[in-house]
Amino acid sequence: MARTVWRESPKKLEVSDRSSAELHVLAVDDSLVDRRVIERLLKISSCKVTAVESGSRALQYLGLDGNKDSIGFQDLKVNLIMTDYSMPGMTGYELLKKIKTSSTLSKIPVVIMSSENIMARIDRCLEEGAEDFLLKPVKLSDVKRLKDFILKGEETVEEKVTTHKRKLTDGHDASPESPSSSIEYDPSSPSPSAPKRPRL
């Protein structure tokens, strides 16, 4: 029987995120209509969503996370920020800058959304560290592409997970040969036979 070898995964998603195994996206937009749409786009793509109406609210939310940043509060951890560019008060660009210059938040990928296709604007945002610049209205395909990109760091883990799941359904021995080098990881539904185990 093939031994399942688990590679050390990059720290894009913390271990306890795996218990929910969903991307948590913070969406920032002053438009109520757009917030509702982006929320639905993300939920239908199996993401957890927190939608706020301004840059300052977003920072508030992220700042609270920072204070509580211990194992117990991993549920609040944000994996991606999607922000509108044109907002009253703090623009999406200003929010991007604040995040990228923060010691605690700079690692979070930020995507800018805008209805205006202005080259200089796009360049400025990318230079400031934005992961991507999406033209509004945002489509399902945009969200899927983003999600795939963010999860790419977990690609090798996902492949192993699929293989492991297939083994379970094929009736193979559910318990891994080497407990210290494997984890239970089921993004869609709880594994009935094997208990969830944290990575050692």
Partner: protein, 151 residues
């Protein structure tokens, strides 16, 4: 049942005309794709949000344009909001009118702005009527036990 088939045909014809006359564009179809059993009223919900939001914006626009000294930046900001939300639901004619409106704001052309204001109000009324009619036909189909055709 004859009734359902007739209603479905009416729905198809009406929807087709809305797309042909550019009241709606591809984005509306995208919204429909986001609707499912877990969120069966999503489109109606978002469009209702759009109606409320638009009415607020139109009131504020009327107010802003009524001032002795018109704040074109403010007018532009409001039109930008309306352009954004109409684009998000696929209300193409409103969106296009907003683009023209913003040009007049940039030129600080009060006549042009007032003209566009009227046209935007008209387009909004038309779009609202058409969408409400569409939703009504949908309800009738469902009430008669039929399913909404996918276009």
């Amino acid at each position: 049942m004859d009734g359902v088939v007739q209603l479905q045909r009416q729905f198809i014809d009406y929807t087709t005309s809305l797309y042909e006359e550019k009241y709606l564009d591809e984005q509306f179809r995208q919204l429909q794709q986001l609707q499912d059993e877990s969120n069966p009223d999503f489109v109606v919900e978002v469009v209702s949000l759009f109606f409320d939001d638009s009415e607020r914006i139109l009131n504020e626009l009327a107010n802003a344009l009524d001032q002795q000294s018109v704040d074109f930046k403010r007018v532009d900001a409001l039109v930008h909001q309306l352009k954004g939300s109409s684009s998000s639901i696929g209300a193409q004619r409103i969106q296009k009118m907003c683009i023209a409106f913003r040009n007049y704001c940039e030129e600080q052309n009060i006549e042009g702005c007032l003209n566009c204001m009227q046209q935007v109000k008209n387009e909004y009324s038309l779009a609202k009527n058409k969408l409400e009619t569409l939703f009504k036909i949908e309800q009738q189909i469902l009430a008669a036990g039929g399913s909404i055709p996918v276009l």
